[in-house]
């Protein structure tokens, strides 16, 4: 499936700003057999700073730019065209991995893919393995089932028991609050699912990306209504990494576009910046994902 993503991030300031530094992670990565980046453009409206591109520690595409001229708004536009593929074809005996012996296998495996994956067990800034998380993991995960079934169950559990509610949480809301309030947004659910898996020493990554949304039946799709999305990627040994979207209770497929992988939101937040100003900037984001 060929998807085009137009992503616009706009900061408006009350007063003139002379200097800002920004780092964005908005260029989809290439994933063999899953997605292929056909084209990508990034531009800043009305300003032409030099934009530096590099690959970060996790293999993501990072752009950095600095604006040192007077401006009152900062508008970052990206335009990506991505071909996505159906990657469910190799599923055969995925149930072979039992939760219990997986843990052990993990510990003693000398394969490099295994120990590199083990970095995604370690707690990270947004994903602290608290008592609450451990308790939650012990309640939801079940050693009697395979790793795959456990992931499906966990995703299902979050989807059914947690309410999607914008505005209730912010990026700093800790996981125990999500657990007790039972609501949040996709980034919270992704963090919760990752934390639960890590509590049982299963490597899990945070995925930032997009999802193609469809309008309610009989209605036109509105422009700019999409947003960035986040979900979870879990290590399955020889099978590699499988993805789960607890917000929608599905396994990502052709409608999901991956931007970047990291330990949590902090590693790969799509846009961040530091400005030298006295006032608080206003932020507006619009995303359009459309089929070509």
């Amino acid at each position: 499936m060929k998807l085009q993503i137009k992503h616009k991030t706009k900061y408006s300031y009350l007063e003139k700003v002379n200097l800002c530094h920004n780092q964005v992670i908005l260029k989809p990565i290439n994933l063999i057999g899953k997605q292929h980046l056909i084209s990508f453009e990034i531009s800043i409206e009305n300003i032409k700073p030099s934009i530096d591109e590099r690959i970060d520690f996790f293999g993501n595409n990072v752009h950095y730019f600095c604006i040192n001229q007077t401006h009152k708004e900062l508008i970052i536009n990206t335009n990506s065209v991505v071909e996505t593929y159906n990657s469910f074809s190799y599923f055969g005996d995925i149930h072979q991995i039992q939760l219990l012996d997986y843990k052990n296998k993990f510990k003693y495996s000398s394969e490099s893919s295994f120990y590199l994956a083990s970095q995604f067990i370690i707690p990270s800034i947004f994903i602290d393995i608290s008592k609450e998380v451990k308790e939650f993991a012990n309640n939801v995960l079940n050693t009697g089932f395979s790793l795959y079934s456990n992931c499906i169950n966990l995703m299902n559990y979050i989807y059914k028991n947690f309410k999607f509610e914008s505005g209730f949480t912010n990026i700093n809301t800790p996981i125990p609050t999500i657990l007790s309030q039972k609501k949040g947004v996709c980034q919270d659910f992704a963090h919760l699912m990752i934390a639960t898996l890590r509590a049982w020493e299963i490597p899990a990554r945070y995925v930032s990306g997009y999802i193609e949304t469809l309008p309610p039946e009989g209605k036109e799709k509105l422009v700019g209504t999409d947003a960035s999305h986040a979900w979870v990627s879990v290590f399955f040994g020889e099978w590699g990494w499988l993805e789960f979207d607890p917000t929608n209770n599905i396994q990502p497929n052709e409608q999901h576009v991956v931007l970047a992988y990291g330990r949590d939101f902090e590693d790969i937040s799509p846009v961040k910046g530091v400005v030298i100003t006295g006032s608080n900037p206003k932020l507006k984001v619009s995303v359009d994902v459309s089929r070509l």
């Binding site: 083990s118 937040s269 006032s279």
Partner: protein
């Protein structure tokens, strides 16, 4: 040998001592010094100790303690008895440290490079990846670097087995060099005979190599711009940072002084932006760049990592070095030494067990009551937990805590250390000591400083030794022959053999400007207050109506002058003008009132500390006595007007001395003009306010006479007037003398002339276009007074001198405009704000 003091030597029982051997003999390397101590006697030693304290106080040597509300700028403590290291032991230490520095260098390069030690399973992945010092954004960033650690320090102690043990590694921004130098400089002044009669290795040549090494870090520039990046005056070792910067002739900067543009680092100076090539960093890793590292940091420079990545700046030590301070890593050093060097460690390291491994965790749990437990990445901040001091319940709780997160804990064995003589409470007793050695990576090889910073425990028997816990420092003497003949002369600021044609950094300029303003503000407030007190004292109960009117005019004028409203203008307080003592004393001692003396003094000291590296020891001495007076004012007990008067006299003398020393000591490059500019603006504003609030509204002739008398007094112009006019006071002459007389150094015209001159100099420094407006304003100001005649200004319509009022009020607003323009043009302020990160909240398909 039978020595007097060793007979009374207060040994802490059960521990081995470095000086007094178990057989009652004095160890050979202590014999010489013991002889000296006995020659001196305890009484004289105490005298010298007091001399040390005095010097340290005068030199402003401080160390800030974080949790103590009075801990900021606490005086540094120095034991008169040094820590001695004999020649043969030193040779082993030196070898051990060079090996260790080399090993750490290889480890750091590997962690931020290929990570072979992880891939080859020498070190578990979690130990590195789970440590907060492993900065993912720095991986592969310093790939071109020759030596990772330019300066590295190790804390060491002599074990009772005679071996020197390494306790800790300090790799990101080790402190100690400056304090070592200061300790040595004080010791050699207080005990010159000890140095003459002992063979103590000198420190100065190490610092020469240090300075050269830093310059050489930048390969492609002959005379690179170097800065020391400090977290600022609230940091515990701020004194040392300023001291070292001054000693090495390097600019001391804070994050806000720097900016990144075009992937390069620039310093904001009054000449504009100037490129920085090398940063000696005293800011911790995580705080260096709010864009890529800790976003809440206000100590760093946004975009700094990008500049490093583009190889446009060199930072020593590189950001990311704190991974080497990982306590857990220390347990793996023996195997890492085998892996990298195929050698055994020369200096033994305290056995360390990282709890992230099952076997080690079991050992730790089984032996917890004999071990010291630390968090692997918070070794700096959290206290070590001493196993044998815990109750059974506490041991149980600790185990539970470790179980929750075993990977973040490590335990270390307890080594029996030796004690060493320490002078305390007029006697010599034994204390546990550790010493910190600094090692310099000179590019191809390593240099160990032949000395260091020793510290002994705050209490006898205690082996918790840290400055935060009140430890006492000791000069460290490495005994033995100098490799070459070198002289020990420690002169601060004389090492400027480098081309320093750089612009004055904006923040320094700003602080100098404000120091100028505050100095003048405090002096003139004190003078005026002194005069008012004198006139109150003279006032009799049966004062005339005119006297009352004059006094009210003057008191109200004082409130205007100090901007301490409502003050004497308070309509609701009818008695305040009759009984002014209370309000005057309040302005003299209430810190919470902006405009009060202590408030201005506090602001002055804040600015003085901000640019600490500027001040000579003479200036510190004056500042020290100025500060002592501050305490007297802040106390709550009663103070009489007479006491206050004496106090004000003292303040005025101190401030005048300060101005004199600054005038004498600050060069143009160092910003003398900024300091003077601040003084002139403040003085001008004060004169304008004072005249406006006393002489614009006309009082009766005899009241006005009294007012003029006091005004002259408050400005210290009585003699001038008498000398010049030899007549009764009259308003024309008064206005001429105070406002228009260009030969009177206290007149407004005189101030404005100086102001004009300073502004012209500043304009020659920066962007010319920026300064058109300021020079124009200054011209307008000076010419408006040049064109005025005192007789005309003195004319009045009814009770109002309109022309006088007009010229004073327009001049005031012009001065404020100049002030604002200086701010804008030379002291660019940066308030860092983080952009909100977009929330990721896609809902459904």
């Amino acid at each position: 040998m039978n020595l007097t003091y060793t007979q009374n030597y207060n040994l802490y029982s059960g521990e081995k001592d470095e000086m007094l051997l178990e057989n009652g003999m004095v160890s050979s390397h202590w014999q010489n010094l013991n002889h000296e101590i006995d020659k001196l006697g305890l009484f004289e030693l105490e005298n010298r100790h007091n001399e040390i304290k005095r010097l340290i106080k005068e030199n402003g040597v401080t160390y800030s303690v974080y949790k103590d509300p009075n801990g900021l700028n606490r005086p540094w403590q120095l034991d008169p008895l040094p820590y001695l290291i004999p020649q043969d032991r030193w040779q082993t230490i030196e070898k051990g440290l060079i090996q260790r520095a080399h090993l750490l260098d290889l480890i750091a390069k590997d962690i931020y490079g290929e990570q072979k030690i992880i891939k080859n399973r020498i070190v578990p992945l979690e130990l590195i990846y789970g440590h907060s010092g492993f900065l993912r954004s720095c991986v592969q960033m310093n790939s071109n670097i020759n030596q990772f650690l330019t300066i590295y320090a190790a804390d060491m102690a002599l074990g009772s087995d005679g071996r020197v043990w390494v306790l800790n590694d300090r790799t990101q921004a080790p402190s100690g060099l400056g304090y070592s130098l200061e300790n040595r400089s004080v010791m050699s002044r207080v005990f010159p005979e000890w140095f003459q009669n002992s063979q103590v290795r000198k420190l100065t040549s190490f610092f020469k190599i240090y300075r050269k090494t830093i310059s050489a870090l930048c390969l492609n520039k002959e005379d690179p711009r170097i800065v020391v990046l400090t977290p600022g005056q609230r940091n515990e070792t701020y004194f040392e940072q300023a001291f070292l910067a001054n000693y090495l002739g390097i600019t001391l900067v804070q994050g806000e002084d720097l900016t990144i543009q075009n992937d390069k680092v620039w310093i904001r100076s009054i000449r504009g932006l100037e490129q920085v090539d090398i940063i000696l960093r005293r800011v911790d890793d995580n705080f260096c760049d709010p864009l890529e590292l800790r976003a809440d940091s206000r100590l760093g420079v946004p975009g700094l990592l990008q500049a490093v990545r583009k190889k446009n700046v060199i930072i020593a030590n590189p950001i990311g070095s704190s991974i080497l301070e990982n306590v857990g890593l220390q347990g793996f050093l023996p195997s890492l030494s085998k892996y990298f060097l195929n050698e055994e460690l020369i200096s033994p390291h305290v056995a360390t067990w990282w709890c992230g491994q099952e076997k080690e965790q079991t050992y730790v749990f089984d032996n917890l009551n004999n071990l010291i437990v630390k968090k692997i990445d918070k070794a700096h901040f959290s206290h070590s937990i001493i196993g044998w001091e815990l109750s059974n319940q506490q041991l149980y709780d600790l185990k539970e805590e470790i179980k929750q997160n075993p990977k973040s804990f490590a335990a270390q064995e307890h080594i029996q250390f030796t004690t060493t003589p320490s002078f305390s409470n007029c006697q010599i007793e034994s204390r546990f000591s550790v010493f910190r050695c600094s090692i310099l990576g000179t590019g191809s090889t390593y240099q160990v400083m032949p000395g260091g910073l020793a510290r002994s425990a705050a209490e006898r028997g205690s082996f918790i030794i840290s400055n935060q816990a009140g430890g006492i420092s000791k000069d460290t003497w490495v005994l033995g022959m100098e490799p070459k003949n070198t002289s020990e002369q420690i002169h601060i600021g004389t090492d400027r053999d480098h081309n320093n044609d750089f612009g004055l950094p904006s923040r320094m300029a700003e602080n100098l400007f404000w120091i100028g303003r505050y100095t003048e503000r405090i002096t003139s407030t004190a003078r005026l207050m002194r005069t008012l007190i004198a006139s109150i004292n003279e006032r009799s109960l049966k004062s005339s109506k005119d006297e009352k009117v004059a006094s009210q005019f003057l008191l109200k004028s004082f409130t205007h002058f100090t901007s301490t409203y409502p003050g004497f203008l308070d309509e609701n307080n009818k008695t305040i003008l009759q009984k002014p003592d209370k309000e005057l004393i309040k302005i003299a001692r209430d810190l919470s009132i902006p405009g009060s003396l202590p408030y201005s003094l506090q602001s002055l000291f804040r600015s003085v500390n901000e640019i600490r590296s500027y001040w000579s020891s003479d200036i510190w001495r004056v500042l020290e006595s100025l500060e002592q007076g501050k305490d007297l004012l802040n106390k709550t007990e009663k103070i009489t007007l007479a006491q206050l008067q004496n106090h004000l006299d003292q303040k005025i003398i101190n401030l005048t001395a300060f101005v004199g020393l600054v005038e004498e000591g600050l060069t143009k490059e160092q910003g003398w003009d900024l300091f003077d500019l601040g003084r002139r603006i403040e003085k001008s504003l004060g004169l304008l306010t004072l005249i406006r609030s006393t002489l614009v509204n006309k009082a009766s002739e005899s009241a006005e006479y009294l007012i003029m008398e006091t005004v002259l007094d408050g400005l210290e112009l009585q003699n001038h007037y008498r000398h010049k006019y030899r007549s009764h006071l009259n308003i024309d002459n008064i206005l001429h003398l105070i406002l228009l007389d260009s030969t009177n150094p206290r007149s407004l015209t005189f101030q404005l002339k100086k102001l004009d001159k300073r502004l012209k100099y500043l304009a020659s420094q920066g962007d010319k276009n920026q300064n058109v407006r300021t020079t124009r304003l200054a011209f307008e100001l000076t010419s408006s007074f040049k064109l005025s005649m005192a007789e005309n200004l003195a004319q009045s319509k009814g009770f109002l001198r309109e022309d006088l009022d007009y010229i004073l009020s327009t001049s005031t607003s012009k001065l404020y405009e100049i002030n604002d323009l200086i701010n804008q043009n030379y002291f660019s302020h940066s308030h860092i704000k983080l952009l909100d990160k977009p929330i990721i909240d896609e809902s459904s398909i």
